[in-house]
Subunit: 138 residues, 2 copies
């Protein structure tokens, strides 16, 4: 999750809502991503989406059942949908997103085989997002 | 919708589940996409996602509130999530997807301002998908 947080900090530095994600396979990072929706002017450029595409390219397979994703914020519905299709093995998210997190829509959006964990580096991830919006308002 | 169906037929010819989408702004097609998840080995390469990215690139804006999407199959949760973020003005889908369509998860996944219509070229779009899976089984 430290590596995902590093990705989130890169988003922060580039003026993007600071969310970062990594995909791990056999204890090795095979995909990284941070939110780039402003830079690319593309709503699909969420951290998770970029990390999934990157990991799938690395493996040459669209299925990531043997992988774990670490992401600093609870995935939105779009990203949960992508995690479903990829059949991601495990998803660890740091902070919950009480507004746009997928649990607000349906708790069963991930693949039935996907294991979900939350809370690691929760405070650091939340603080980063709060700092971003505080800075934005100033 | 005829143009979306043309995109779906291109997917069919390339051995992909035949779904196509176009984004229209001011009566002009500004984004096209057909399912390329097999070719790219990337679950995020759904027709709608590619068409959204393409339209946003064309406009230089991630918001597509003034646009309409025509898609041959009801969007899945991932694509509905992307349509939400893009604030797509109108969504027209041909065939319903009783298994993976976003209505199976939550009917309120699109942006509250998005208008949704369905049924245009429903039979042609359904037939194309059924033919694809029939051919696959043979």
């Amino acid at each position: 999750m430290n590596e995902a947080l590093k990705q989130a900090k890169m988003a922060f530095e580039e003026g993007e809502i600071p969310v970062g994600a990594v995909v791990v396979s056999k204890n090795r990072i095979i995909g990284r991503g941070y939110n780039q929706t402003e830079k690319l002017q593309d709503v699909t450029a969420h951290a998770e989406m970029l990390a999934i595409t990157s990991a799938a390219n690395y493996l040459g397979s669209k299925y990531l059942a043997e992988c774990r994703m670490y992401v600093t914020l609870e995935p939105c519905a779009m990203c949960a949908g992508a995690l479903f299709w990829a059949q991601m093995g495990e998803v660890y998210f740091a902070a919950a997103d009480s507004k746009r997190g997928f649990h607000q829509y349906n708790s069963h959006m991930l693949h039935p085989k996907t294991k979900v964990f939350s809370g690691i580096l929760k405070e650091e991830s939340e603080t980063l997002v709060l700092d971003f919006f505080r800075k934005l308002r100033e």
